[in-house]
Symmetry: C2
């Protein structure tokens, strides 16, 4: 290895995000962005903050934004932590709750950033198997796991775990931190937020990137009892005092307050998802039951890699993971009705229907 | 300790940033912000980016911004790393270049975030002493130090190390990474950027928060040979794929391109610093020779703590560090001419002149 690099990088394999094409007209269904623009109120708040005041540091504790999130969920600001995207919140949670001495666990088929964090911070882990139907068996986590992370709904499958089973995990592992990554929860799954009062071991992580159309602003957050939030604050204040710039704080707070817009756009996406899944099934696809803004689908007669390439040639980007178990699937973001119609036309053509 | 917290938090003592008053009219000379607004071109670029496009993730590699910085310094984009403020860049550099197995060194009187990073990431360190006059002796770093960090100019003293002595350190420690934190370099010190070609061990870190009036936008950067930048990229892509939002990328690139505005504002600050230092000396202060946008000053007849409190009562915020060696000094940000006149009036009154 390079003699100047830290030895901790020897084992690290960075995460590779989905492609952000720089030019060209693509129908972009590859990174689970929201097809609808951010709330006009969020854009107005950003415009108002984008002036001379940028010469000053932002509020390090992000009080206004924490309050807006707390109000939305009926929590106190002391139960809210915000960060520069839910990826940063997750990274800080790995530092805050897991130690090199203790083995943690997360599903083998899940967000592929989890093992990356674990390796960077030297945290031993078990990647536990899902059932054959891609659902999570709550009893797969064991006593020797001193920390648990899972996404609900899961990515890239889109499958949600019923709230009773989330609670079953929290109850069985009351003495260890359990992180529920709810990046996609607003598209139809049940959030664990209501369990925070009862479970001191619970940390819920969410994002503004999906249901609030603000992937480009980088804001994520965590919800939990104050002692859980304090651990995250300790890490954050030992890493970067000011993780959220003035524009992100202003825009995200306004987006959180615009409940009407949030409701309208997420309902549109759920409706588009419903008919799109049915249409894909009519084309012969197996589509996992999705509670997210994406569909995870495989076709018995066409390889996912080939479909991915053929769609790309037609300027439609979807996500393909060249990894065991999931390499027969495409992950397709739910776009607008028009985008999904274009996708289905292209697939009909490719499949020769 | 809390049973849910990582054991790595046991030793951690977070950094405490300077106060950001939420309301009230203060003359704010406590966090080394620039008294002049950001470049109008930066604000225009932010306004242009603050639209529907925010629903999409930003470019993870921040190509446009890296190019703008590379062009400014006559480097290639492969020699540039950008992050969410220079604090994040520093944190990632500690992860990228230092290991728990190896002792590093930085000056005892310097940016107080260095020991915080070291403790968070379990990196053993020596806090080496400055000379009596607060200058850095280049030979204070020894062979057993497997990494070196220093600020040039130093904070909170404001004193710059001559470039020959920076090079002396780089030459004597060619086999270990040397990080030169140049947050304040644009106010009159010599940058080590010109040494990057010759020294594979050099990493220079700078920020948009001071000389480019964008503390509220959170953008910092590192410059070094491509193998040094690659280490930072590896950490960043194992921590957070998208550290800079779309608005920060657009605004910072435009600020970097507006060289004329940058020159004009930094010259104004240097001019204000010069007369302000002389005026403080006339009031009996000892003022260290500053190459930054702040003055580090002590008074033989008044305690720094008392002066800090008396100024605060008069709605003037400066920074006071209640720590050995520096607790007889005030760190005073260089504001506008009007702000410095108000400060001097207040000090005259307090000192009874």
């Amino acid at each position: 290895m390079n003699p100047y690099w830290s030895r901790r990088l020897a084992d690290v394999e960075p995460y590779v995000p989905g492609e952000q094409p720089k030019e060209g007209q693509y129908i972009k269904l590859n990174t689970n962005e929201n097809p609808y623009p951010p709330s006009p109120k969020a854009l107005a708040a950003i415009a108002a903050a984008a002036g001379e005041g940028l010469r000053l540091y932002p509020a390090p504790e992000c009080g206004g934004l924490c309050r807006a999130i707390a109000d939305f969920y009926g929590l106190t600001p002391e139960e809210v932590f915000v960060g520069n995207g839910s990826d940063e919140v997750l990274a800080m949670a790995f530092l805050a709750f897991f130690s090199p001495e203790d083995r943690i666990a997360f599903p083998a088929v899940s967000y592929s950033f989890y093992p990356v964090y674990a390796r960077l911070f030297d945290i031993p882990y078990d990647a536990v198997e899902l059932r054959e139907d891609f659902t999570l068996d709550p009893s797969v986590f064991r006593k020797e796991h001193r920390g648990i992370v899972f996404a609900n709904p899961n990515a890239p499958t889109g499958i949600a775990l019923p709230l009773e089973e989330v609670e079953q995990i929290l109850r069985a592992h009351r003495d260890v931190p359990v992180i529920v990554d709810e990046a996609y929860v607003d598209f139809g799954a049940d959030s664990a937020v209501g369990l925070i009062g009862e479970y001191p071991n619970l940390l819920v992580i969410q994002t503004f990137s999906k249901s609030r159309s603000l992937a480009g602003l980088r804001v994520g957050f965590a919800l939990g009892q104050p002692h859980m939030i304090a651990a995250l604050d300790t890490v954050k204040n030992s890493f970067n005092s000011y993780t959220l710039d003035r524009l992100a704080q202003a825009g995200a707070a306004a987006a959180m307050e615009d409940q009407e817009y949030f409701e309208a756009t997420r309902q549109k996406i759920i409706a588009t998802r419903t008919w799109s899944a049915e249409a894909l099934e009519k084309l012969g696809f197996t589509v996992l039951p999705s509670k997210t803004n994406f569909l995870f689908a495989s076709h018995p007669e066409a390889s996912a890699a080939a479909l991915f390439g053929a769609l790309r040639q037609r300027h439609i980007l979807v996500r393909y993971f060249n990894k065991p178990i999931v390499d027969q699937f495409l992950r397709i973001t739910v776009g607008t009705d028009e985008e999904m119609k274009a996708l289905l036309c292209a697939l009909e053509e490719i499949l020769g229907r």
